[in-house]
Amino acid sequence: MITWVSASIRNDLGVSSPKDLLCLAIFAVWFLLTVIRQLKRRKPRWLGRIDPLRIVPSWRLFGPRPPSSDYRFEVKCKPAGGEGFVWIDVTPHKPRTWRAFGWNPQRRLRKTFNACANSIWRALRKKGKKRACRTPAYHLLAKYATSLSDFAPRSVRRFRIVRRERSAAGTADMIVFTSRRLGRRRRTVAKV
């Protein structure tokens, strides 16, 4: 059996040296792992452990449920010269223009922000607010909110994520998450 397999590899595939065989093995294993990766939506833990470079991709591209809403990022702060606290829209990315066809750096900010918003929303639904406030996504957004140069230091109190969905009936905004008071008690922004 082994002789037949080795003869078949040598003759049919044209493998002529151990170097070729090693090359074939690398690509074969890589492809096999990629096929396995497609079987489930979430990456299996064991695959995550052996793929720290994330070179085993998921090819689900906008399937089965593509994004159907936008998120907005707002902070509660006291504007310069203002009296009370107000919610201000500080969404990190700008609206897309026609130039995005060739030059679209903003998509990375959109992608990161949407991923953070989704991650917090998922944690909130499944594990509650306490756990949602411990996610790396929460820390990243908290750090982003408190580092905004438009406002005086420590003037940003909270942040919130607002989801905007459009349908035939019109546009609907929904607050999906409001953070704890920032910069108090536990330093939520320490490790980002």
Binding site: G14, R49, L53, G63, W103, A115
Partner: protein, 267 residues
């Protein structure tokens, strides 16, 4: 006529390097966001659940503040690859630098990467392996591997959409077009007002993806037609959804698909 494997691999490398350069230039234009307090700072705890190399080691790399320098290094390496092909020089060194910089950035995380970045990294690492082994077999197998990945990517994306009821009845495409992130106002209005067209457009998307998946495995003239329609599809996606790097990332694999088709049917 038999296609030359080296020419095909060089074509793959040039297109992928161009795409990677564009992606890196876009990242470099967002430098303030890479710094502390920026949106592109790396996220700590790995969603992959740790690593075989130790979480402590990875945390040091992920928290390293030299992301900008490494992006610039990756950009230089990608441009050096193109120059190496143009001036008939060795590509191994720039490819090695590229792969190392890409590996660092993959470990670092948090750069808003998407499917196109994954395809570009995968393609360039495959070319690096082919050049490292430097045999005709390695070149052939790298091209076939890239073609296989291209097929798998289109096939998976198409079949998963086909299996989703919301994609089949056009609702997903309409909802996607309604977003500011990926959508297009005019197209959204058109699809929302013409549900039949939404169903047709959705079918064109997943049907097209499944068909293009067969491009490397059919005779070259048919493969060429399928790849041509794939290119048009990516141009439309760039135009309507702003996913500009997908065009380069997937087009880079097309010479490999053509080569595989040629290899299978030119005997």
């Amino acid at each position: 006529m038999r296609l030359d494997a080296d020419v095909c691999l060089n074509s793959v490398l040039v297109v992928a390097a161009l795409g990677s350069s564009l992606a890196d230039l876009e990242l470099l234009s967002l430098v303030p966001q890479l710094k502390t307090g920026g949106m592109l700072r790396p996220l700590f705890k790995s969603n992959a659940g740790g690593s075989a190399f130790g979480v402590g080691f990875l945390s040091i790399l992920q928290g390293c503040p030299v992301g900008t320098a490494v992006i610039a290094l990756r950009l230089s390496a990608a441009l050096a690859c193109i120059a190496a092909i143009a001036f008939h020089r060795g590509q191994l060194l720039p490819l090695l630098i590229y792969v190392m910089a890409a590996a660092f950035l993959q470990l670092r995380k948090g750069l808003g990467n998407n499917g196109s970045d994954e395809m570009l990294t995968l393609t360039l690492i495959s070319v690096f392996i082919a050049r490292l082994f430097s045999t005709s077999f390695a070149t052939n197998i790298a091209l076939c591997f890239i073609a296989l990945q291209l097929s798998l990517s289109y096939f998976t994306a198409g079949v998963i959409k086909l299996g989703a009821p919301l994609w089949r009845d056009g609702q997903s495409l309409t909802a996607l077009m309604s977003t500011q992130t990926f959508g297009n106002e005019r197209l959204y209005r058109f699809l929302a007002n013409n549900p039949q067209m939404a169903i047709l457009a959705s079918a064109a998307v997943y049907g097209g993806e499944i068909l293009v998946a067969f491009a490397p495995w059919v005779p070259s003239p048919v493969g060429l037609m399928l790849l041509g329609s794939g290119l048009v599809f990516h141009l439309l996606v760039a135009l309507t959804m702003g996913l500009n790097t997908f065009l380069f990332a997937f087009a880079a694999a097309y010479p490999a698909a053509l080569y595989t088709s040629n290899l299978l049917y030119s005997r």
